[in-house]
Each structure stands twice: as C-alpha cells, then as structure tokens.
Symmetry: C2
C-alpha cells in the first residue's frame, strides 16, 4: 500500500533538482527558448529515443558518451540540430564546453527546424543567463515548446507504508508529428527515488507502450524524439510497484496532454479496440484509427461516419470480419455484427456525442481477447495552417 | 513496331462497346448517378479489387459468380453498398434481375457512402432510362463521380505493323482515399483486342504496381476499389507487347488524373527515389513521402522544408544514412551527402519550383540500384472541408 499525491512542481518536485527557462533569442518574439535541468547530485539516466534513421545530433552525441552519470541537461527549442552530420555533433561539444563550472557530463537535447546548424554563439550566451539555484519547472516547460499551445508538466509524491517517500516529476513538449512510435516529443523526468538504472530503463520500456507509443497526431515520426529519466536517489526510498505505477501516471498524463494539444486539435478521442485476435492486432487496429485522415476529418466535422471506422479497420491488415464487428460512439452502438442501428435519430445522438471535447470510439472485433487503447485527435483547418507555415 | 493514336471516345473507343450515364435521383442535385457499359458480344473479364477486409457487396457478388463472361456492367455512385452483409448481396441480385432483356451475367459496381442499404427502387427505375445504343463515355464517366471535380476518361488506338488495329479505352473515378494499395477508385477498361482472360489479368497485375498502386491522396484504403478490364475480341488483332504498353498508358494517365483531382489538391508531385537497397525499399520510401502529412502540408504552403523529406525517409523503415542521402527539388540539390546547400537564396529558388502545379522531389539514398516513382498531392484546407462534410 502507498499513497500518491499530486504536486504542481513538475521537474523540480524531486529533491535536489533545479530547472529554469530563459530567452536566448532563438525564437523571434523574445519567448523562452532554452532550459536546463540541474541536479546537485550526479544522476543515473535511462532513455528512449526515436527510431528514425536520420536521428538528430544530440541523440548520436548521447549514445557516444556510453555509460555515464550526469547532473545537467541543456535543452533548446527552434533548432533540431538534425541532418547536420559530424559538424552537428561537434557543435554540441563546443556548446557544452561552455556549461556552468560545477556540472558533470552535461547532455543536450534539441527540438525545432531540421537541417540548420546550431546557433552556437547565441546558445553559449544564453547559458550565461542560467541560474542553477532556480526551481522554475514551468519556465523550463515553456522554453522547450515549439508549436505547443500550452506548457506540459506534472509530478507526484509517493508515500510508502513505512512513511518514506519519493517524487517523480516531468516536463514535456509535443504537439504535432506525434506518432505511434514516439515522435516529435521531448520529455524529461526526474526522480529522487533510490532506483537503479536498470530498473528505470525497464519501467520506461514498459510504460512507453501504452502512453507515448499509443498517441497519434499526424502519423509522422521525428528525428529528435527523446525521453530522459534522471534519478539522484536522494530520498533513499523506493518501491518497484509504486515507482512503475507513478511513472505510468506521469507519462500517461503527459501523453494525453500532447494529444489534447495536437496541432489544431479540438477533440481528444480514445480508440478502444477489443475482441481482437491478440493484443498486437488490437494495437494495429487502434493505431490505424487514430492515424486515419478520413476518421480525423470526420471527427473535426462532428460527422458520425462509422463507415470510415469500419473501412479503416478492414484496411489495417488485422483479422476482421464484417459479421463479427461492433462499433460504438461512447455507449451508442451503431453497428453490431451485421445489424445496422444507424438511422436519422441515432445519427443525431452520435453527432451530439461528437460535440464533446472527449469521447470514445469502441470497436469489438468479436474474435479473441486482444485489446488496446490508442489516443488521437481530429484534424482541422488549424493543422493545415500551422504546418503549411511552420518555418516562416 | 506499332503506332499509338490518342482517341477521345473513352470506354466507347473499342468496337462494339456502348455506355451512358443517367440521373436516377441518388444524388441530390439531379446530377448523373448511374452508368452502364454494354457490349454487343460477351466479354472476358479481368479484375483487381481492394484488399480491405470489409470489402463491399458488389465485390463479394462478383467473386461468387466464379468464371463467367458478361456484356453488361451497372454502376452507381452515392451509395457504396458496403457493410451491408448478406442483404447487400441480395440487393444486387434483385437490382440486376431488372437489367435490360438482352444482357448476360450482368455485374454491378458501387461507390459512395458506407453502411447504407442500396436504394433499390430508385436504381431499378433508373435502369429504365438506359439506352443501350448510346455511346456517351463522357456521360458515364460523369455519373460515377463522387468528390471528383472532373470526369476521367482516355483511349488509344493501336495500329500494328500488318495494318490491323485494336483499341483500349477507360473511364475512372477517384479523388480522395486513394492509397498506395489501390483505393476509393473505380476504373472500367474496355478493349476489342483479341486477348485471352489470362493475358489480360497478367497485364493488369503488372501495370497496377506502377500506376494505381503508386498514387496516394490520403493514405486510406476503401471498401469498394475495383478495376475491371473487359475484352470482346472484335478487332481480331493483338500484340502482347503493344497491349501491355497501351494498357499501362491508359492506367498511368488515369492514375495521375486521380492525383491531380485529389481532394483539395493544388499540386501533382512526383517522388522519385533512387539508389535504394532494392526496388522494394525505394517503393516504401517513395510511398512514405507521398503519404506524409507533414510533407503534404509543406507542399501546400510552398515551403521547401527538405528536413521533413529527410525525416520521413528516416522514419519509413528502409535502409538509409544521413551521410549517403541527397535531396533535390526538380534539379535543385538542397542536401548532398552531408553538405547543406540550403541557404536563403536556395530557399527562394526552391519555393519558386514549388509554386508550379507539377514538380519532382528526388531522393537518392546512395546505397544500391533500387528505384521507384510515387505520385502524390498536397493537403490543404479544401481537403479538410470536403472530408469534414462528406455525408452532409
């Protein structure tokens, strides 16, 4: 037994962690564009990175460092440092050599436009603005935003039965290009739990499947996706089960925040697939739904076009039969194993469900026990506007 | 040696074929919504159908007929007769039993909204308007349109060295939901060549790979996709090589017409991938580009965001390396094996290329000899508008 208490301190909730965001002039409007996370003690690091073969320089740089402890993460927005080759990696070394005096094995993370060299001078100047005694998680969360419309942070304190406690907190960015393979997102998680690197990695690997890997904004996968989990062990407390549960809560909350902030999104939709041959089939079908342009535009139009749902499942490659499938909008069943319940009245009722900001589309394939929940949003004019004009 | 002459008679170019379109009141505005193709002689039929597991009733009906010759195809728009189960197949039998007296093994093809029973009475009434002596391919092409903004037809006459000749002509519809696995499209091809069913099927299977299977509008795959090739052998003429070449020309022309008419599309883009490990890798990469929402919206914004091209290739799963890749917009190379040629002046030049209605994005992966060309369009506000309001 343990208690979980929400905290609003984000990445600074854990004892001994500091963070802030500053403006280094990378963004045009003087908005915050550089952040740091600093820990008084050296931290173990667990990580997840994009599977994109054009992965960005910061990811290559991290991998080159091998096994290490760190106490400093530098993050910039507006420039992804991707497709910049060896020069991009050398740029990171140069920038990090100007890190504050007392940091150890500093690491860097970037997000923004691909194919432009880092503005090193600006970033080095910007680092001079860092005050390592600051605990402003919200400012750090703001500084790593790109097309995000709101900053994303969350933290929980876990109180174990023996009275000991630890914290897990995080900041994240991600609004577009979020794909079922963890894309265009950055997430930095800190904890003062006394957890080993191996247990952190195991927990991350498990939690990502049903959180960051279950969301979709536009089906594209980026060059920079990164999740870092840093532990300084300060609390001396740990419970494997509690740690995993709360890490899941942190990642799940942030994953849904990203979908809610999907570029131009007005709706957060849960795709619940049950009755699939196995969990893998359920996952494929659920993600196909959250990725389908025709489903997304129907959501935007608040049009209960269940035929597109059926067609998308049929096209997804999973085992499925017209005569075994059922489809519901929240608790309204529109199609059940060959029976069409979709008349004018039902259409009106379903359209009313779709006017909500949050609802669930459920599909039972009627075959086996496989199930999966994916999360997606609608696609409207704002998405087109944001992405047609991204670089300008 | 043979000569190929363009004809504007579409599906009626081949000797002995007739076609027309009528209005049966399925579309609200009195537009043509039913078409027929009729041949005086019975025809061999070759076919290609959707791979969607929720395939529509007309496809199931066709498959149940086994091996047969026909001389009559009935086509309706506005209702897909999909997700309608056994009743949907029985509806087809009922409708076709009211076919004109002199037809043999009539077949039916449908396109439109999924999950609504066929309006049988209207269709049976509509058939009474058919005049089997009409040769109005354009009217038939118009009647099978859904969100298409223009009718699609083409025909060629082939004159062989000995002076004998045959014709191949076609009509098609397709504007949205067109996917690299032949989707939401119907295409009816007629020929008076003296070709066997087996040779027709072989030619269709080969030509589809680089035509209808190489285009993408929105990556979705429909329940109704159908290509039918009917031959009545009237001309007595045939040449295998010429037949395949001209069939390819017909299908390639119509495939590009569909992309050009992609819902809300303003640009027709060729994605030419070369230097891939093998042709399969090239195909995967080229189709990933034509399917990418981020690439499509950049096209719409006329933003030469080549980083999105690189990122999409990296995410596509094919073998690719940052240091071996080159990317060009038409003949302007913006990235070559680690060298960034993209400065302010190049950006201006590339933006000028993107203002054209047609251009090519070339990616050389620098690994092997694999190559593939895919065709796609941009995604703009009109796409969202069309698909948010499709059923209303």
């Amino acid at each position: 037994m343990y208690n979980i208490i929400y905290s609003n301190s984000g990445v600074c909730a854990s004892d001994g962690f500091f963070a802030d965001g500053v403006s280094a002039g990378l963004k045009k409007d003087g908005a915050k564009d550089m952040a740091f996370i600093y820990s008084e003690d050296e931290c173990e690091v667990a990580s997840l990175f994009t599977t994109n073969k054009m992965c960005a320089a910061p990811i290559k740089h991290f991998r080159q460092m091998g096994n290490f402890k760190t106490n400093f993460v530098l993050i910039n927005s507006k420039n992804a440092n991707a497709m910049t080759g060896k020069a991009g990696i050398e740029d990171i070394d140069e920038v990090l050599s100007a890190s504050p005096a007392n940091v150890k094995n500093p690491i860097m993370s970037s997000t923004g436009v691909i194919g432009v060299r880092l503005p090193k001078a600006k970033i080095i100047e910007g680092m001079k603005l860092f005050d390592l005694t600051k605990r402003d998680s919200a400012a750090a969360a703001k500084a790593i935003m790109t097309t995000d419309t709101f900053a994303k942070e969350v933290a929980f304190k876990v109180i174990l039965e023996d009275g000991s406690s630890f914290n897990i907190g995080a900041i994240a960015k991600g609004a577009g290009m979020i794909n079922p393979a963890m894309a265009t997102m950055l997430c930095f998680i800190t904890t003062d739990a006394k957890v080993s690197k191996e247990e952190m990695q195991e927990a991350l690997d498990e939690c990502v499947k049903t959180t960051f890997n279950a969301i979709s904004v536009d089906g594209d996968t980026s060059t920079n996706d990164t999740v870092l989990l840093l532990s300084n062990g300060r609390s001396g407390a740990y419970d494997k089960e509690a740690f995993k549960e709360v890490l899941f809560k942190v990642m799940h909350f942030l994953a849904l925040e990203m979908v809610r902030d999907g570029e131009g999104a007005t709706k957060l939709v849960t795709y619940k697939v049950t009755g699939a041959k196995d969990d893998r089939d359920a996952e494929i079908a659920a993600k196909a739904l959250s990725d389908s342009l025709l489903v997304k535009t129907a959501l935007f139009g608040e049009d209960p076009n269940w035929g597109r749902v059926a067609s998308t499942i049929g096209a997804s490659g999973v085992e499925a039969y017209e005569e075994k499938l059922s489809i519901s909008f929240d608790n309204l069943c529109v199609y059940d194993k060959g029976n069409l319940y979709f008349d004018a009245e039902m259409e009106k009722k379903c359209a009313a469900v779709m006017q909500h900001k949050k609802f669930t589309i459920s599909c039972d394939l009627g075959i086996g026990d496989g199930s999966f929940k994916a999360y997606g949003c609608d696609l409207g004019h704002e998405y087109v506007k944001i992405n047609a004009d991204y670089r300008t």
